[in-house]
């Protein structure tokens, strides 16, 4: 912005060098893991213990590790995790947008207190209550069920907050006009405001999906059986059982990363926009 052209060029070069260095540090480990999953075991070990060009560029490729990973419990774990994550997204967007709508549009007694409680739950990370929640879920006889994996993650203070911020920005006249036309509040929520809130829905879905897809601690304790195994727990089990089988572990881990990458790539551009809009008000 300031200074001579030479100085500006030097600063820009420095900036891009820093950009590239950080990107390398963040992306290279993921790249190495995914490419190594396609290499014969001998190549993985030989090229990682002595670092060189061959560490980064595979010479021989094989699908053996992927076949092996996918013949175990991984397919069931992926299916379970997808079901849990998608059910949480569907229920979570519905339930939290309803509550966000109420906080944005209605006046009712105890509104401030209730909203403060919602905000407080969003400042309280889920992990802090994992053990007492386990006591509760076991008391209800829900261990090793989908309900135990899905229901605790549906209501989310953060998602309620995001929807409230969005709905509060919709001009009040829009609601008034719809009321004059005889629409019920439920119809207004469903037909008027939800179609407007695409970016917020996208961000909320991404948050809920990734949260469930990444879940490890809670499924580890709430669903320890083989029937309801989820993807992160299934991958982690490979570590403790077969320490020397890096290839199979990498293929399973790559599966988990690539599935999470799809919604991320689709929705990440809405993410920054929604976070910016939510922090504006």
């Amino acid at each position: 912005m300031s200074g001579s052209p030479a100085r500006r060029l030097a600063l820009a070069t420095l900036r891009y060098a820093a950009l590239v260095a950080v990107a390398t540090l963040l992306l290279l480990p993921i790249y190495w893991l995914v490419t190594a999953s396609f290499r014969p075991s001998a190549d993985i070990f030989a090229t990682s213990s002595s670092f060189g060009w061959a560490t980064l560029v595979p010479e021989r490729l094989t699908l053996a590790h992927w076949r092996e990973a996918w013949s175990g419990e991984l397919p069931r774990a992926v299916a379970n995790s997808l079901f849990v994550a998608l059910a949480t997204v569907a229920l979570g967007v519905t339930v939290n947008s309803l509550a966000g709508f109420a906080f944005a549009v209605f006046d009712f007694p105890f509104k401030r207190v209730l909203f403060a409680i919602v905000l407080a739950t969003f400042m309280m990370p889920f992990e802090s209550i994992v053990i007492p929640l386990y006591v509760l879920v076991r008391g209800l006889g829900l261990t090793d069920t989908f309900a135990a994996l899905i229901l605790p993650e549906v209501a989310s203070g953060l998602v309620i907050f995001l929807f409230r911020q969005f709905f509060a920005a919709v001009p009040k006249e829009l609601y008034e006009a719809a009321r004059v036309d005889g629409a019920s509040w439920l119809q207004i929520w469903w037909k008027l405001t939800l179609p407007l809130s695409g970016p917020t829905i996208a961000t909320a879905s991404l948050m809920l999906f990734v949260h469930q897809w990444d879940a490890f601690f809670w499924p580890l304790v709430a669903a320890p059986g083989p029937e309801r195994v989820v993807v992160q727990v299934a991958v982690a089990r490979n570590v403790t059982l077969e320490v020397a089988n890096w290839g199979g572990l990498f293929a399973a881990a790559s599966t988990a990363i690539l599935v999470a990458l799809v919604p991320f790539l689709l929705l990440q551009r809405f993410y920054l926009r929604t976070v910016t809009a939510a922090s504006e008000r």
């Binding site: 950080v22 993921i30 309803l98 400042m123 309280m124 991958v235 910016t276």
Partner: protein, 290 residues
């Protein structure tokens, strides 16, 4: 929040009930269970009995609990300022939308797609002392290989580094969102007044970044305070207790020693700290803009 529509409870309740019931059952009830359960113990016969302060008295007398407190505090005192400085730096780095910057923004968010447990597995292997590629790189540069996770002096530092690899891109988003809201006109006005880049950062950017910084500071602390997966998957609290974070201590009490009272007492301690952090956050956020 002012001047909403006044509707009877019978209508408002339809909108609020599902979410609020969920929060009450799965967020608030567990807090009550932890607080009450911390004062109970389980007999060999399986029945739960009131034991008063016994669980807490035992915690206070237990050196492994104090070690966990110490390690957790040390870890948090380093990891949180470090992550905030780095993520603020990254946010500034990707602020100006010059060519390729959208790619770098996305690239920095990419570790968000690698779950914490996968991050742990990935870095357990990258930093494996004999076979891992990082030591392979060190050897090829003529440097001595390092023990990383297995070194009593290095394990906690390694944990801090790996948690930051996963975390900084995530927190960058919130700080970048804050930076994008700093009005350009303020910078232009300051420039006309002859303020250099450093002065503009101190007097224009930083004051306006207080809210996002306060939010990230507290949310990041809460997240790191509860770190579990890497400790469980890689170090199991070792070597020699060097990475025994409180959350792992609570897990072990509940699932290794099957001591529910102790586990809930540690959970209460954790919830107390989280509660203090939440109050602090509300205060910091309220100071501006009310």
């Amino acid at each position: 929040m002012k001047h909403g529509f006044r509707e009877p409870w019978s209508i408002v309740a339809w909108f609020l009930a599902p979410a609020l019931l969920g929060l009450a059952l799965f967020r608030l009830a567990p807090i009550a269970i932890a607080l009450v359960g911390g004062f109970t113990g389980t007999r060999l016969t399986g029945e739960t009995v009131w034991v008063g302060l016994r669980n807490y008295r035992r915690l206070v007398e237990d050196p492994s609990f104090w070690n966990a407190v110490e390690v957790t505090l040390l870890f948090n005192l380093i990891v949180n300022p470090l992550q905030i400085v780095i993520s603020f730096g990254l946010a500034l780095l990707v602020l100006r939308p010059t060519p390729l910057v959208p790619f770098f923004r996305a690239a920095y968010m990419a570790p968000m797609t690698v779950s914490l447990s996968l991050t742990s597995i990935l870095w357990a292997i990258l930093l494996e002392p004999t076979m891992g590629p990082v030591n392979g790189l060190l050897r090829s540069l003529g440097l001595p290989p390092q023990p990383f996770w297995r070194g009593e002096d290095q394990a906690l530092a390694t944990l801090i580094g790996v948690a930051s690899w996963k975390g900084v891109g995530y927190w960058m988003v919130f700080l970048l969102a804050g930076l994008l809201l700093v009005p350009k006109e303020l910078h232009e006005a300051a420039m006309i007044d002859g303020a250099g880049a450093a002065a503009r950062f101190r007097h224009v950017t930083l004051p306006l970044m207080r809210r996002p910084l306060a939010f990230v500071l507290v949310a990041d602390t809460a997240a790191n305070f509860l770190l579990f997966a890497p400790v469980y998957l890689i170090t199991q609290g070792g070597p020699a207790g060097a990475t025994a974070l409180l959350m792992f201590e609570a897990y072990q009490a509940a699932f290794t020693y099957l001591d529910k009272g102790r586990a809930l007492a540690i959970s209460s301690v954790i919830l107390f700290v989280i509660g203090v952090l939440a109050l602090l956050e509300l205060r910091l956020l309220r100071e501006r803009g009310g």
